[in-house]
């Protein structure tokens, strides 16, 4: 909450400018942009239709398999600060995990080992809509068969 504001609009503007981080601001601006009157069809509605197509894709695949496995992250953990990935690269790196959000399916990530630099690696398991039971059983079985969940990397 800012020290001083002339009026409610300024109060809100200052609080949000000072309080929200860059990423949050970016997403708010993006959301506002695509929802603008006159542009909703072009951006928001179109994205929603693509999302439905993604969901239907997963529905089809889960008719033939029980679960889908993938890494959680496409590379090993990146370094902190400017040596690591920039915000855009980070977003692109989310490509395995955004699928569950878009398709609305259950997913879980569990430890599955370490890279040769001793950095932990995550395994993502995806299951079909309302198939949480299958998801938990597969994850549990893997956990029972491996020691990774009991190990911590040396910092």
């Amino acid at each position: 909450r800012p020290e001083y504001a002339e009026n409610p609009e300024e109060l809100v503007r200052k609080a949000r400018s000072e309080g929200f981080g860059e990423e949050v601001k970016l997403r708010i601006l993006l959301g506002t942009y695509v929802l603008r009157s006159g542009f909703q069809d072009q951006y928001y509605q179109r994205a929603q239709r693509i999302r439905t197509a993604i969901r239907k894709d997963f529905d089809r695949v889960f008719e033939e398999v029980d679960v889908i496995l993938s890494p959680v992250f496409p590379t090993q953990a990146f370094k902190h600060g400017s040596e690591g990935l920039d915000p855009f690269q980070q977003k692109v790196a989310d490509r395995f995990t955004t699928a569950a959000n878009l398709a609305g399916i259950p997913a879980i990530s569990i430890p599955c080992g370490f890279t040769k630099d001793n950095l932990p690696v995550g395994l993502q398991i995806l299951a079909g809509h309302f198939r949480e039971e299958t998801l938990f059983r597969v994850a549990h079985a893997y956990e029972q068969a491996t020691p990774w969940h009991k190990m911590k990397p040396k910092i």
């Binding site: 409610p8 809100v12 506002t32 603008r36 909703q40």
Partner: protein, 477 residues
């Protein structure tokens, strides 16, 4: 050039649910500010809404009473804007798939029946309330999240008086459903108006003005009347109308323009992802439809048919649901086939007592049996009509039975000619001029003499008997 007014009304109604629309906070009115709030209605990060089922049922009841088509598939949308009384910075409302649409409200205007079409009835939540205290404005969020119904009419209303009738008819209908208090003073009913003028008989709509800040049905009528005058003057002097919002100033009895916003608000409506769209089963709608109480219009028709009373009288009897039920109990128990006398007591003295006390007729504490007894006592000439009215007042005050009161106050009418004889003689003796006037044919003189008999007898003489006796004695003298 003659202009005609084209008016549409938007009514916001508080639904009388125990808890808010999307959280478990109490909706009780008049509590300590900000004591009925929680993370959901305050819009704290991470809080999620859950829709109140009773609110949906109440909404469907209203939609059906407004003759609207309840949609099978409906959803909530976010209406996004910034304002201090809106905690989430969006209002949960309905945009393109409202709960119901395409209905009508039947009103009586100028003794003619008119249908005002209802464009839609949809659900939303209320915002917080501002309390202005000098330089500071405080905000009470107890009201934020209370379920609201928005009822939008088509611009079918053509006069301020019609707008008033629309509102009273709407209120009377919805009161029967018992889903809202419909009280503009308490803020459970709010009304905004849209008005435009066009040349009489024209098809196109003129530029509309939105009116806000009217705090009573009368204010709506007054504000619209003022706007018609103002806009007519404006148009006749050649000024061009621009779309604007104006506030009604009740004290000064005029409308003032609101500071114009630079751009029209873009609410960026999108479906609320926290609330799933839902289906309303046809069986559910049927069930609710069957559970609707008999509405005023149907009750009037039935009263006329079943009890043979005048439509005009029936309309007064049905104004309030409680009173209509009380009236029906009375009419059922009343032994005579012709109910006029009883009805006159209900819409006359009983209603007057209720208005004086500021309550419903049914709440006066006069039992059906007692009222009927009182009416019987008058009909059998035991007491005079005049005395009966006084007895009624006493019944309302003390809840005693009519017979007890009559005995106590010694109000039994003197109908016996022997008892009245001496009074009659005295009045004739003391008013020679009136007696002479009556003999020359002045009927009023007789009435005056009857009045004198009533006075001399302390109001207890039977006026009919007195009149006959006076006539007899004077003519035979």
């Amino acid at each position: 050039m003659e202009y005609e007014a084209v008016i549409g009304l938007e009514v916001h109604l508080h639904l009388k649910t125990k808890t808010k629309a999307f959280c478990g906070c109490s909706t009780e009115f008049g509590r300590e500010p900000n004591s009925q709030v929680c993370p959901v209605c305050l819009g704290f990060p991470g809080a999620l809404p859950v829709f109140n089922k009773t609110a949906l049922e109440s909404a469907i009841k209203v939609a059906l009473a407004m003759n609207c088509k309840v949609q099978a598939y409906t959803k909530f949308d976010r209406k996004n804007y910034f304002y201090p009384d809106l905690p989430k910075n969006y209002q949960i409302s309905q945009y393109d798939l409202p709960l119901s649409k395409d209905g009508f409200l039947e009103i009586e205007s100028d003794s003619k029946v008119k249908w005002i079409r209802i464009r839609r009835v949809h659900m939303e939540e209320d915002a917080g309330k501002f309390i202005h205290q000098g330089q500071v404005t405080l905000i009470d969020y107890n009201r934020a999240g209370i379920p609201l119904l928005e009822i939008v009419s088509e611009p079918d209303i053509s006069s301020p008086q019609e707008a008033y009738i629309y509102l009273t008819t709407l209120k009377s209908t919805i009161e029967y459903l018992d889903v809202s208090d419909c009280d503009m003073e308490k803020g459970s009913l709010r009304c905004d108006a849209n008005i435009s003028l066009r040349p009489k008989g024209a098809d196109n709509l003129g530029v509309k003005t939105e009116l806000k800040n009217m705090n009573s049905f009368k204010a709506v009528k007054d504000a619209l009347a003022y706007e018609i005058r103002r806009q007519t003057e404006s148009l006749e002097s050649g000024k061009k109308m621009s779309q604007e919002t104006r506030l009604w100033d009740a004290k000064e009895a005029k409308t003032i323009a609101m500071r114009t916003k630079e751009d029209a608000q873009d609410y960026r409506y999108f479906p609320d992802p926290d609330l799933t769209p839902f289906l309303i089963q046809a069986e559910e709608i049927e069930r609710i439809k069957k559970s609707l109480p008999e509405l005023p219009k149907a009750k009037v028709l039935r009263f006329v048919k079943e009890y043979g009373i005048a439509e005009y009288d029936a309309k007064i009897l049905v104004l309030s649901k409680k009173d209509a039920e009380y009236a029906e109990l009375c009419m059922r128990a009343y032994p005579q086939k012709e109910k006029k006398t009883l009805v006159n007591w209900l819409i006359g003295p009983m209603l007057a007592e209720a208005n004086a006390k500021g309550c419903a007729v049914a709440e006066l504490g006069v039992s059906v049996a007692d009222l009927l007894e009182l009416v019987r006592l008058v009909e059998t000439d035991v007491i005079s009509n005049l005395s009966a009215k006084a007895v009624l007042s006493e019944m309302v005050q003390t809840h005693k039975t009519p017979n007890d009161i009559i005995k106590e106050k010694n109000l039994i009418q003197i109908s016996d000619s022997a008892a009245l004889s001496s009074i009659i003689d005295e009045v004739i003796r003391n008013n020679p001029k009136s007696v002479a006037d009556f003999k020359t044919g002045k009927v009023n003189a007789l009435m005056f003499l009857v009045g004198q008999v009533m006075k001399a007898s302390g109001g207890k003489a039977n006026p009919k008997t007195a009149q006959e006796m006076l006539k007899g004695r004077i003519n035979n003298a």
